[in-house]
Symmetry: C2
Subunit: 151 residues, 2 copies
DNA sequence: TGTGTTATTGATAATCATTTACACTTGATA
DNA sequence: TATCAAGTGTAAATGATTATCAATAACACA
């Protein structure tokens, strides 16, 4: 945890930004709740527990900054809210998501499913891929089971 | 064009909705500007040219309805606006998008790149895939060329 | 032709996530 | 210490979308 924060601090400095206490508090929440797809509001409330004087706008500004620096991923599941995830270190890509259309849970796939596909896109469309977002919508294991039982 | 509208009309009837003049005007705009990723506002303005009395709320309602019936795809490129595309007939899936990070243009891929990947997801995660969204972010052919020339 | 019922509409206001404006702090540097 | 830019919190503004509601249209039936 502390190491990760130290590295983020350096990364910010490299771009001539500072890791202010407010920014650090936000990063700590993201670190504690990694992979939780928190909205800005969620993060704001969690940050407030530790540092009640912090403002929502600052959280938004921090998330925007971290997003630009590719430290967090800003993701969008189609409900009108952006969600933020700390990017796994060294991860060049978004992970993929399985969104259940019945219960709404979101599962992660960290494995890169798209190596071949990316290669194809680069070759066939001469499009230089920097990043991608892949979301599957469907029925999760759990809901499939439930449906089977209720029939 | 007329055939397509006729089929949409039937599809609406099957779900006990009517193809009102307002809805038809909206569908016609979508047909004329297929694959243009229009926002609700864009569509509203285009509909207004033909039928000035139509209201923005009605356009939203129509798009919502068409979206539920899977006649249009509601897509989201991460700017705070939903965009709407008439789904290609018989297309079971969203098409894929190449979003250029420099000039912002969006290119389509209609070919299904994910058959294998979907199969893997179904097997490995027992997740029953109904739909997916895949967006690549990177540099388009055109901007790659421009960058090369300016160096 | 009327009449009741229901869905649909347009205008408008409300909502809600996100941004912006602005006056105030802070922290580094001269 | 004085200065200056960067960063902050509060509050107001913005902009997309949704909800509300009275008016209208469509239709089924007397």
């Amino acid at each position: 945890m502390e190491h990760r924060i130290e590295r983020i601090k350096k990364q910010l400095h490299a771009e001539s930004y500072k890791l202010t206490p407010q920014r650090e508090a936000t990063v700590r929440v993201l670190l504690e709740r990694e992979e939780d797809h928190l909205s800005a509001e969620d993060i704001y409330l969690l940050v407030k527990e530790k540092a009640p004087e912090i403002g929502l706008a600052t959280v938004y500004r921090t998330l925007e900054l971290l997003s630009e620096l590719k430290i967090v991923d800003k993701i969008n599941f189609g409900d009108g809210v952006s969600r933020y995830d700390l990017r796994k270190e060294g991860a060049a890509h978004f992970h993929h998501h399985l969104v259940c259309m019945e219960c709404g849970t979101v599962e992660e796939i960290v494995e890169d499913l798209l190596e071949d596909v990316e290669k194809k896109v680069e070759d066939q469309w001469q499009f230089q891929v920097k990043d991608h977002r892949l979301t599957f919508h469907g029925i999760c294991r759990h809901c499939q089971q439930k449906n089977k039982e209720s029939n």
